[in-house]
Symmetry: D2
Subunit: 307 residues, 4 copies
């Protein structure tokens, strides 16, 4: 039955593709096929539902912000992380410098670029990229994640705005360590090649309170997971987060590579792929599939039939 | 047992009062006693827990935004309301004009002044103040709510910024009808005299999906309540909403009169009173009591023991 | 010879008309004929050069800011006026609220709407509109200036943004007196019907240090005139003031009615009319005629042949 | 007589020193003696007036923006330079990123850091630092100008905000070439060691239309000088430029090293030194001396006795 609903969601989402467009500010991203669409649901009780282009690899992009935040919270603790970054939705685009320059020394939250770069700067002295890659594989239940070298180099070649952000954080005394090394690690994290399944895996780990339901191993502390889910809910869909929370009500994080990762509390992880993006930078097909599923399966956090 | 936890929460919250200050930009509000603190919990199964200054009347202020939004959604519908106001947290102070002037024609959300005034403009042609007052009494389960004339006149005398917002909305073509009548109705709604019990009542109505648990009467549609709760979660605590969502995880709305109204999905409504405010304009004692209760009673939306 | 240069300037300016458009945010203004163009030069030594549509009446609009500022400086003095309004170019559009809300309690300068409304509020308790009209006639050397009732009513009907600004100033404690009476007087001042000749007359009065060269009567103190000229140079052409100062170098003030008034220190006053505006709100034909004249007649303040 | 007025100006300016403070965001600058004050006037007819600490060397800082702009205009031409940078006063602080991120791809003007860095990027492929140093010596009529190594290194060590600006310009496609090389050249230009005499020399060259009055050699084209003077007048004194233009009316450029360079059209160049700065970053003693001189000697561009 879940399989059938997922299939309908895919058909529903497909209609919206023509209204979107593939990101091209990073040239390598522009090569994606806008008509691809994939949906994957991993439930807590072990079901694995897959529809459409679920094997297609793409880069994780901003969804890596969830992994780096979780890792930083896990090893540095809540207080240290949030001494350097706030927890407020900004109301501005993901790459805006406005609030950082004007209103505060700390980035507004870990889901905008400034906040994510700050968070990665806390990881730089502790972890190599290889260690973080290994950790990403475990959290996503996907051993095949690798660095997409082409996207990484494209990212690096066009990453001046992120370098500007890093230097601005440095100038405000909030970013410690080497700013260019930090940005490089951030670019690598954004260039992890995942697919809809990897994202469903990550979503399930988080939906399940940080415990791998396959083997009962705790991967993340419960409090870390709680913080991550809340920030996904308030800030995970760029400057469309508020509307997504109202309409869909699932903690989710999107990336301009076309992925969205969602986690339905105690029930399932969802991964979607669809590189045609809406004007906020969210996968248009993915967003519509999630809205469809939320309605049909009562996944909204405040749906009384959600249980 | 709940009584005891509530008592401890009150003691805990009391410690923070000296760090806050009573609002005085509306002169009448400045007369409140900063040391008062009250906490009231109404559970779905009929318990009524009360501690401290729960009988003290104060004005509802911004918490009326919840009532006007619910009323507008109920009678105008989702699409009409959100054609005039967005659903995004703004990241700015409640009375900021910045985003309204710069980024958009529509106010960012119904919980900032611009959005609330826009919402009230939709009510003006349909309802008299007396009708809305009656409706507030029902939603709050409190027949004694009246208009606080002194605060209303003080509000009116110092409400130039809200008048500026109304004219700006008018100039952008988004506010229809008479702008001064709209602002007057908004001032009246802000001047409803409630107490911690009224807020617990309102919270319970919303926590219970819009149905009065005492008599089973549906007061608000389920979808209306879902929207309201989501917006309370993302935007209800001024520009401290994001941090409150992370730390407390209870949909809540605060007012500069010192009240906070919270709703714990399917479990209880919470009303707090404490006129000493933090720098964001939220009751400092109220906020701390809610954080205490969330931790002790597992009320966070993403607490695995919340059930 | 001056007549011939003026004629060439008119021909030159005419070419740019198709790149502009008549203002229509005030409906009455939209009725102007975009192809009209007039140029008038009144020299200190008594020459009166006229080309094109110099008799066509139009409303003075923002050029009235020069008259109200001069009047306020004359009767309130430098210190009182500039305690309420700053002297800095804002870099923003004439009707922006951004800086007023964000950066300062005082409007940035008397040439943006916020500053002009503040200045008019100082005149309200001292002068009737009729007195100011009479004063405008004298400064412009034009007895036929009247109130354009149609534009005044159109202005009033669409003036919500200016009302918003007045209330914002009121809320910041910088505007005293009745805000709606102030805005009404401001609308009346904007609706004075002038022509290119009136503006050349006003320009000559100012270029001549405040003395009417026809009869030697001092109309404005020298210091008042100095301040006015400097502010025209730095802020007179909306957010195109900086480029106009570089390219043309003549203290000037434009209005969305299509007029520009310029004053060439100690030499002449210039009035232009051309209702087709550029994207900054300046008459496109007027601006080009002034650039042509500056080059040909060496009128730039820093032109070594200007003498 | 000029000597006596200058002496009075120095005494007058000295009173304001206690209201200012030495810049310390670049540590080396913090070592300056706040009580130093020097004033130097070089007139077109060959007078050299000196009072106070005119031999004290300090770094030129933002005054180098005049030299780099003049050089770029001289070799690239008006159109090429202003295709990359606008000519509008911004109303914001010198190091603000706000407008650059929000309102435009081009920096607002060549006198704010973003604009100056953009201008220096045009010089990088054409000139070595040594060539620019030599050119600065000629324009300032001072062969002893050298690179202050200590300040240069201090500048470099704390220049993250300027690096952020360079990367932001790069990301907007407006800065070509190597951004770090550009910033390095900018830091070197800021670290030229001048004294009040050098600045008077530079001011005289510009006041005299680009011709060295000692030998009649043209150093800068007249049009270049006209543009530079206009931009000094509208943007030369940071976000205090508007008020300085009104009160003083002399095209001037200040630097946080404590210098101000002024040019009185066709009459004289003025150099001042006083490292105690006001809250805008302008030498407080220097600014007051210039206001005094403007009043006493009728130096305001719109003073009728200025001739």
């Amino acid at each position: 039955m879940l399989q059938k609903t997922a299939q309908c969601a895919l058909e529903y989402g497909r209609q919206f593709i023509p209204q979107g467009a593939v990101a091209d500010y990073i040239p390598e991203l522009g090569k994606a096929d806008p008509n691809q669409l994939g949906l994957c649901l991993f439930t807590k009780d072990g079901q694995k539902i897959m529809c459409g282009d679920v094997d297609q690899r793409f880069t994780i992009q901003s969804i890596c912000k969830v992994i780096s935040l979780a890792t930083a919270l896990q090893c540095e603790g809540f207080d240290k992380v949030f001494a350097k970054v706030m927890m407020e939705p900004s109301g501005d685009a993901f790459n805006s410098i406005l609030k950082l320059d004007l209103a505060s020394n700390r980035p507004y939250n870990p889901m905008i670029n400034a906040g994510a770069i700050e968070v990665v700067s806390m990881l730089t002295p502790r972890f190599t990229f290889e260690q973080l890659l290994e950790y990403a594989r475990i959290l996503c239940m996907d051993d095949d994640i690798v660095l997409d070298e082409a996207v990484y180099h494209s990212e690096k070649a066009t990453g001046d705005r992120n370098r500007a952000i890093a230097y601005l954080l440095k100038s405000k005394g909030v970013l410690e360590g080497d700013e260019l090394k930090t940005v490089d690690l951030y670019f690598r994290m954004c260039s992890l090649s995942v697919n809809a399944r990897s994202l469903a895996g990550l979503g399930l780990t988080i939906a399940n309170g940080g415990v791998d339901p396959n083997n009962g191993v705790r991967l993340l502390d419960e409090r870390v997971v709680r913080v991550v889910k809340t920030l996904m809910l308030t800030c995970g869909m760029y400057d469309g987060s508020g509307e997504f929370a109202v309409r869909v009500g699932i903690p989710a994080k999107s990336g301009v590579g076309g992925g969205i990762m969602g986690c339905v509390e105690n029930r399932m992880g969802i991964g979607t792929y669809g590189p045609a993006l809406d004007e906020k930078g969210n996968s248009i097909g993915g967003r519509q599939m999630l809205e469809y599923l939320s309605r049909e399966l009562h996944l909204h956090i405040f749906d009384s039939l959600n249980a």
